[in-house]
């Protein structure tokens, strides 16, 4: 039965429907294997225990009914502690479920646990987790990417069928690319941010990871719904992403723009460039037109992102004062207020978080806000307009998900600027609030997955999934079980 673990969600649901396996039976198997391989990969901050959170599997009409889902530990859950990967929320038990979590719960999904991440989503390698790093299932010496590294690893390592992640500057797509799975960033506001522990509110999206595009569409059919609790929610009420994904007409003869600046050998490694050129030929064979396009101001992307992001983060993280919950609660009244703040916040936040709080506080301060924060907002506006302008000439954009394949654990952790550079290909979609997807685009010569990224105009999520499905069919480079995981599976005794 253990070969069932390699199936996609929709394949698994066909087995459920045919009565070949019951969801609870599969869930038990899933959890046994997840625990089996966990010491190697370390995807989870909290793994579900037996008997924890039995979903209401009577609700058989859910798009992903009975499918086990892992949840990034940046989304609140009532049945698991939620830490955001931070000491400051160690043991925090949220009083409410994130909207996306609740939608999955109501749709009859099992939860496998809460996945590891860079603290508060700040990082590109999951090494900034306050607890432990996660390992890439393709090469345990390498990072899984980040910040949704645990989510990507859990899907690649067969610890979960699909996963709910979050993406502020590439945090779903980059680890998906590094781990050889599909990662989707919906249009801003298409999945409710309620319960997504805020990092940079105007850039934060809930996203999802799966082994193929169809599973992404099914996830979107479950969680891509309007929400009164999120004032920025703008999801269409009755979208059917599966139907839109299958609508081939919507992408017949479409034009895909390839951003020249993102294909620069100075920026992007040779292996990744080759994979992108292959992807371009796949699209041409599938009947798409390909056009080379220029994106102005590429050099401003990272500075803009790394000003806005810490600015919002410094504000969003101000609430962690140990007065109402979290580390430091209940307050020790023998301390003065200043002593209390220092005692709670200094050890509560990791180095990268402290760096961003300081940076963000600085760029928002009187006398500096104009030169940094306000200027970055204007640049973001210009980038958004530039992207919208590009979409007048093309239907989609193609670019690598990351300039390189997964790098080694510890390789960049002491060089924040080099770490930030890993985000160059992904921040554009967040800055422009557009949907984007990362798809497996084959392996590098050294056997590491390469992610191919597509971006669509705002609100063209269904059509982007149609293009992704088209590519997936023609590329033949979809998810495969990492050798190490295959080995573990072979040795796994049910």
């Amino acid at each position: 039965m253990k070969e069932l673990l390699t199936l996609t969600a929709h394949e698994l649901m066909a087995k459920f429907a045919a009565g070949e396996v019951a969801p609870e039976e599969f869930y038990a198997l899933q959890m046994r294997f997840a625990r089996h391989i966990e010491p190697k990969v370390r995807s989870f901050l909290t793994l579900a225990e037996d008997g924890v959170s039995p979903p209401d599997v009577a609700a058989r009409d859910g798009a992903l009914w009975g499918v086990p889902v892992s949840i990034k530990d940046l989304l609140t859950t009532t049945d698991f502690p939620t830490t955001a990967g931070s000491r400051i929320l160690e043991g925090y038990a949220p009083p409410y479920d994130a909207t996306a979590v609740k939608l999955l719960r109501d749709a009859g999904n099992y939860f496998t646990g809460k996945t590891n991440l860079d603290e508060f989503g700040m990082g590109s390698s999951t090494e900034n987790s306050a607890y432990f790093p996660t390992h890439n299932p393709w090469d345990l010496a390498r990072v899984p990417g980040g910040s949704s590294g645990g989510s990507a690893a859990s899907v690649a390592a067969l610890q979960s069928v699909v996963s709910l992640g979050t993406d502020t500057g590439g945090s779903v797509r980059q680890p998906a690319g590094f781990c050889g799975v599909v990662g989707f960033l919906p249009t801003y506001g298409y999945v409710s941010r309620n319960g997504l522990i805020a990092f940079a509110s105007s850039l934060d999206h809930v996203g999802m990871l799966a082994r193929d595009v169809t599973d992404i569409a099914l996830m979107m059919n479950t969680v891509g719904r309007p929400d009164k609790l999120d004032a920025t929610s703008q999801a269409p009420a009755d979208a059917d992403y599966l139907a839109e994904m299958n609508d081939r007409e919507s992408v017949a003869g479409c034009t895909v723009g390839v951003i020249n600046q993102m294909m620069d050998p100075k920026l992007v490694s040779q292996d990744v460039l080759v994979a992108c050129e292959v992807a371009i030929r796949v699209l041409e064979n599938a009947g798409c037109g390909v056009k080379r396009v220029d994106l102005a101001g590429v050099e401003r992307l990272l500075p803009c992102y790394y000003i806005l992001c810490p600015a919002e983060a410094s504000s969003n993280l101000a609430r962690y004062d140990g007065i109402r919950y979290g580390a430091g609660f209940p307050a020790d009244i023998s301390r003065t207020l200043q002593q209390h703040y220092r005692a709670v916040r200094s050890p509560g936040f990791g180095e990268e978080v402290r760096r961003r709080i300081l940076l963000g506080t600085y760029v928002l301060s009187a006398g500096y806000a104009e030169a940094y924060y306000n200027q970055a907002r204007r640049v973001r506006h210009a980038i958004t307009e530039g992207i919208a302008e590009m979409f007048e000439g093309v239907d989609f954009l193609l670019l690598p998900t990351s300039p390189t394949t997964a790098f080694g654990l510890g390789e960049r952790i002491d060089d924040p600027v080099k770490m930030y550079a890993a985000d160059i290909c992904t921040v554009t979609a967040n800055l422009a609030s557009t949907p984007a997807i990362s798809l497996p685009g084959g392996l590098s010569p050294d056997g590491m997955p390469i992610g191919i990224q597509f971006i669509a105009p705002q609100k063209h999520d269904g059509r982007l999934l149609a293009l992704a499905r088209l590519y997936e069919e023609h590329a033949g480079t979809g998810y495969s079980v990492p050798p190490l995981v295959a080995e573990e599976l072979a040795g796994f005794e049910e």
Partner: protein, 489 residues
């Protein structure tokens, strides 16, 4: 040198909404520690991952005030985060409006010593209240988040007041306006109307704005006035001694009747404002304007006077002026009536029927209000008009009239029914009157003797007895005439 004060007022008023500003918690003003933190949720406690959702009711209420002040109401305004660390601020920032307030400019008329003045306003914007702090003896504090997230309107004037009296008169008028509009309970003791003046002084004739100080935590109009007067004196004394006023926040020390610095502000606090990414810009629709206008109109005060309808914007300054100019009401009576709209409406409706304004006012003020304090009652304008008429026609004496009023109040029956039920309409016949007068004269030799000695006033004592024997039904002037006739006076 002669100095003048330059005062601006910053007023925080709780908006009268059922729910908090950014979450669904009910707004409940609790006072006791035992009730602390009953009306809270993850949003107003600032839990991780929560998002604010704007309460549109607060927007409509703020718009109503904007209409009242003839201010500009922004069709498009944005919310901002104002950052500082304090335990009463759950998120580490307050969601407020910064560069684009909902209400901009405007003015408000108010009365000082019966004279009409106008205050120019700077702005009014929406924000949220903080938690309430209970200070403990051991130096620790306890926090009650019931108040956290309660909708607040911050209403700021330009530095237009030149005296404590002016500033207080404006604040009192604004409080009345908010209450009459139904926008706020504006209760100072309960903290739903908080007034923070900032103040500087300068030589008369100068138009410079000198260093100002703020006074906080003022909980009554009397205290505002006293603290402003004291602060004006303090600053003048400083300048007279060639000293400098330092920018600071002060509090009122009641015991020593002086203002005391809470902290010196060396630099402006840096609140690191930026646009709130969790709330889309507030865009007002024509429907919003129509609703605010409709609700504003229904809060207007309409009076019938001289057969014409008079409409007054919610507030008291214009109404007071109108009463003083057009009626015989005294200023103290106007103040009472403006606090008691039922009584005011009863008075004007009675007057429209009766035309005897002063008499109607007496009945409303002296009989209706004290009784209504005990029970709802059933008095209509017609009752008052009828009783006034019965008195004017001398159909009732004043004691009888009060009995009639009491019965009408209690049962709601018409004045004429009350008169007959009490038997006040039975007339004493001429022959009965003659007989009763003769009887009284026969029974009071001593009084008669006094009258014969020239003490003519003593006849009043006889009249009293006649009235008693007729149980008040005799007409006093007729009875007196009959007594005098029989006595040959």
């Amino acid at each position: 040198m002669e100095y003048e004060a330059v005062i601006a007022l910053e007023i925080h008023a709780h908006l009268k909404t059922a729910r908090k500003q950014y979450c669904d918690c009910p707004v409940v003003n609790t006072r006791e520690l035992a009730d602390a933190n009953r009306y809270v949720c993850p949003v107003c406690l600032g839990h991780p991952g929560v998002l604010p959702v704007l309460n549109r009711e607060s927007v409509i209420l703020a718009m109503m005030l904007g209409i009242r002040l003839h201010a500009d109401i922004a069709r498009h305004s944005i919310f901002a985060r104002k950052h500082y660390f304090y335990p009463d601020l759950p998120k580490g920032y307050q969601i407020t409006q910064y560069q684009t307030p909902l209400v901009e400019g405007g003015e408000l008329e108010f009365l000082v010593d019966g004279e009409m003045r106008t205050a120019q306003l700077e702005r009014a914007h929406l924000e949220e209240d903080t938690a309430k702090i209970f200070y403990q003896d051991d130096g620790s504090i306890l926090l009650d988040y019931n108040r956290a997230g309660v909708p607040l309107l911050e209403i700021v004037t330009k530095p237009v007041f030149r005296s404590a009296a002016e500033a207080v008169a404006y604040a009192e008028e604004l409080r009345q306006v908010l209450r009459k509009l139904g926008v706020s309970d504006a209760n100072m003791e309960e903290g739903s109307f908080r007034c923070e003046p900032n103040i500087s002084v300068r030589p008369v004739g100068s138009d410079e704005l000198r260093t100002k100080c703020e006074i906080k935590n003022l909980n009554s109009f009397a205290v505002i006035r006293k603290s402003l007067d004291a602060e004006i004196a303090r600053q003048i004394a400083l300048y007279e001694d060639d000293g400098e006023v330092q920018h600071c926040t002060l509090r009122w020390d009641e015991e020593h009747a002086r203002t005391v610095p809470m902290r010196i502000k060396e630099t402006q606090a840096d609140y690191r404002y930026f646009d709130e990414p969790d709330l889309p810009p507030l865009v007002l629709t024509d429907d919003d304007f129509a609703e605010a206008r409709r609700r504003y109109e229904s809060a207007m005060f309409t009076l019938e006077w001289d057969g014409k309808e008079h409409r007054f914007a919610p507030g008291t300054a214009r109404l007071t002026r109108f009463f003083l100019d057009n009626t015989e009401l005294r200023e103290s009576e106007v103040a009472v009536l403006l606090e008691d709209e039922d009584a005011l409406r009863l008075l004007f409706a009675s007057n429209e029927i009766s035309g005897a304004f002063r008499e109607c006012a007496n009945w409303v003020l002296m009989e209706y209000r004290p009784r209504r304090a005990e029970a709802e009652g059933n008095i209509t304008p017609q009752h008052i008009a009828d009783i006034v008429a019965l008195r004017a026609d001398a159909k009732l004496n004043s004691t009888q009239a009060k009995e009639v009023f009491a019965l009408c109040f209690e049962r709601g029956i018409s004045a004429s029914d009350a008169v007959s039920e009490l038997g006040f309409d039975q007339v004493v016949s001429e022959s009965d009157l003659q007989e009763i007068c003769a009887q009284v004269i026969a029974d009071n030799d001593k009084i008669i003797a006094d009258i014969r000695k020239g003490k003519e006033q003593a006849v009043r004592a006889l009249l009293g007895q006649v009235m008693k024997l007729t149980r008040g039904k005799a007409k006093p002037d007729e009875a007196l005439a009959e007594l005098k006739r029989q006595l040959g006076m």
